[in-house]
Symmetry: D2
Subunit: 277 residues, 4 copies
């Protein structure tokens, strides 16, 4: 059946994926949520009509947003995820046996419900006893929170609408305050091919707060341009400074993307991307 | 004007680019050739309806196919390009002042004529006195050729139709024979997300001939998945073994993608891509 | 959600309809069957990826294929429908109280099951006691059948694959033999804008068998070009010769398309369409 | 080349046409103007991204907007066209040898220039000595004009932007005043499948001014739904009252759509279209 979902990008390009079936369509208090079944890429999650993940390739996003900060920290025990409603980031965080507590603060409980039911391969760890699920606004939560975390991961949608606050200096200051003295923050950070301006704002805001700020990259075919960036901001440790490669080796067999070579290379940026920093 | 060019990929995805103007459409002895002007990505070259390049982002392909082998060789003086009709690879090769001779063997003279006229930013070096342009079948040329080169770059279309021979073991043997004893070959090598099977054949063929075979990657938004691979095959030098980083530093200002960090990191492969090798 | 079904027509045009939901997808012994829910045109039935009907506008097809022959006959009592699996033609035939028996011979029982369940507004009369449903090949049925009908309606898919036989002279001869001496046959007949050649064959075949052959037209937005033709073939009565306009008046209130003016005008053909006959 | 122009309609459907070449793109004081060459339908004229005509099928529009009023009047000598910048309506009007004067008042001279140069098969009569071309706002011209015409044809774009005034009661009053006492006005009138509301306003405005108001239809595949309407408004003659069928016969050989049967049938409306009036 000649049925295609199309996402139009801001620079007059578009990605289309052939669809076999619509599985779910709903509207939460915050956004539209759709789950589609594609012909060749498994299930697809859309939030407000933008592709969040395809089942076939989501590993390239979730492994990279989780394992880079977790392996950059010498002994992470507590993780806070802001956003991450589909559960993929939590799934990767919870592969780390040293993690004692993973708090996930997602504003929209419907995203969790929907992925749990319709994309269980991603939303697989919602019942893990180490995971504490909170349905709250991440900006408010982090302002009021008094616990300190080793790692904070900002797994948000794009900086429009209700997620806008998650890209501002004020928010990054609160993140800083919630991190232990050697804590690390990572955030999804758009792409330098199409959205360099958004990135510049974001990294300037981070640099106003954190002493160490870097960008790293992953090949993600379902996001605009196929190149996706993450912001790495740290109070104490530089990227690669504390990596225990033996620990990576132990986990590598389970993973489809991340490995020792990747953590060493992902902070290398093409010239046009360096200009963002 | 709501006018879009769409390229359908084999895995039921498609990339569309908004078009402002058609600049040229013709048919050579070998293939259809079209030049389009896009709304935001500059001119686009199509061969047999597949996007070869967009002016906005072709640097990510041409810099990576040229500078990785050239900087991996301690003192390259002679380069052979098989294919490369749009001129972008020659343009990058000829940035290297130590290159004394660059032979380019392109089967289709119309590609050269068309890019020279319609996309001069890419086809800029066709009149460079160091460039020797031959309009011949690369497979035949390399079988009959008796000169030896430091570097051979296979800048071909996909392994269908007349370019199919450029992915076979017999051809790689001829390439081997045309390389000096410390020569390096690089070839465009499709992508591991969608075409792992094609890659496996290609790398098996290379490994049957060359002692050193590697894969490296570039972020190229106008190719399927946005992740593009190159095959690196060498008689003597391993990747990174002979890189003179000072020379890279001197050229970096002119470049948009390639730099010292990139050459060090581009051979790092995600787990799913490693399986190809 | 930016989800569109597209039907490509043979003359390099295409119609797209925005889809809200997929309701059913299956494969019978004969064809693919899909039911979609569109954003603004109600449900859509696809057979082998071609739009058979949209709920919003199917009246323009079903009223015209049924009421033109039924009101052209002075006293129709028995009707045979070949095809018509979605039930829309039967629904219109059974509006005529003088009809005592409507036999419907559909090759594919899954089409009936699917429309009955998913598009009940069209498949509404399958349980009408005047309707006799047979799941047989129309070509064979009509060859073996010994009853005679007042009206035979060929409500088939396009003349490719298993429906091809329904457009041949041999089949029309069998139809002729199954009609009473004053019987009338009507068949869906493609469109003269795009498929004049198919139409020429079809009408030549009809004229080889029937003394009276005409074409009439309807505005149907979900078929190629929006102009759709029906073949009218008759043993005795010319179009309009026996129309009882009072009877039409009585039914008009229930109908969305057909009326006294329409039956008088629908046989009028533009010059380019006349050439087909 | 997989290059398609798509026009999205208001009811979430879209028509796409495969394009071979862009011939012209410009912006006048009033609108964007584009000429495309399609694969199978000849040249296409776009105004503000909407398809005005395809060369293959424009006859269905131009013959019907011109010959219906001209053959409805017993002896038309003077015609005023408001709009009609592509020249197709003038071409059809000037087939009538009894016409002594055809004034064409088009607001946008660039439409005339562009069609004359790029689509000469349509813009073929701009140099006809019987044609007086004025580049003025039709609303103003008709308010100030003191001549009286037998026929006025409103060949405008849709009732948005600068053409909006051409659908208002005030304008129709001016048209009335510019017609001789037995004059006839015809205007393009959108389609009853998708735009019944726009039509209701338009026909109410006409009925407030003219004693005789009708709608007639044509099959036009490049307009939304494929069904297109024209408004017929007359001071004295009803449709068909004064038609000289012998004169039609004389012209029929030159025409692709219009003929004696068509003028008799085109005022017949399906039930859903009658509701507009």
């Amino acid at each position: 059946m000649n049925l295609w979902f199309t996402e139009y990008y801001e620079n007059d390009t578009a990605l289309s994926i052939k669809i076999k079936k619509t599985l779910y369509s709903g509207k939460s208090k915050y956004q539209k949520i759709d789950v589609l079944e594609s012909e060749q890429l498994g299930k697809i999650l859309l939030l407000d009509d933008l592709i969040m993940l395809t089942e076939a390739h989501e590993f390239a996003y979730h492994e990279m947003i989780a394992h880079v900060p977790l392996f950059s920290h010498p002994e992470p025990k507590s993780v806070l995820i802001i956003g991450g409603g589909d559960g993929g980031t939590a799934r990767e965080v919870l592969r780390h046996e040293n993690i004692e507590k993973c708090v996930m603060c997602e504003i929209d409980d419907m995203v969790v419900k929907v992925t749990k039911e319709y994309i269980p391969s991603v939303g697989s760890q919602f019942d893990n006893p180490k995971l504490e699920l909170l349905f709250k606004d991440g900006v408010k939560f982090i302002e009021e929170n008094t616990n300190k975390f080793d790692i904070i991961i900002i797994d948000s949608t794009d900086p429009v609408g209700f997620a806008e606050g998650l890209f501002k200096q004020k928010f990054y200051q609160s993140v800083y305050d919630c991190l232990k003295e050697d804590g690390i923050m990572v955030a999804q950070a758009e792409n330098p091919y199409y959205y360099a301006d958004i990135q510049k704002d974001m990294f300037n805001n981070l640099k106003a707060v954190f002493p160490i700020v870097s960008m790293y990259l992953s090949f993600i075919p379902f996001y605009p341009s196929g190149m996706w960036a993450f912001a790495f901001a740290s109070k104490k440790y530089k990227p690669l400074e504390k990596v225990k490669y033996d620990d990576i080796k132990k986990m590598e067999n389970e993973l489809k993307y991340f490995n020792s070579d990747i953590i060493k290379s992902c902070f290398s940026l093409p010239n046009f991307a360096k200009k963002v920093l």
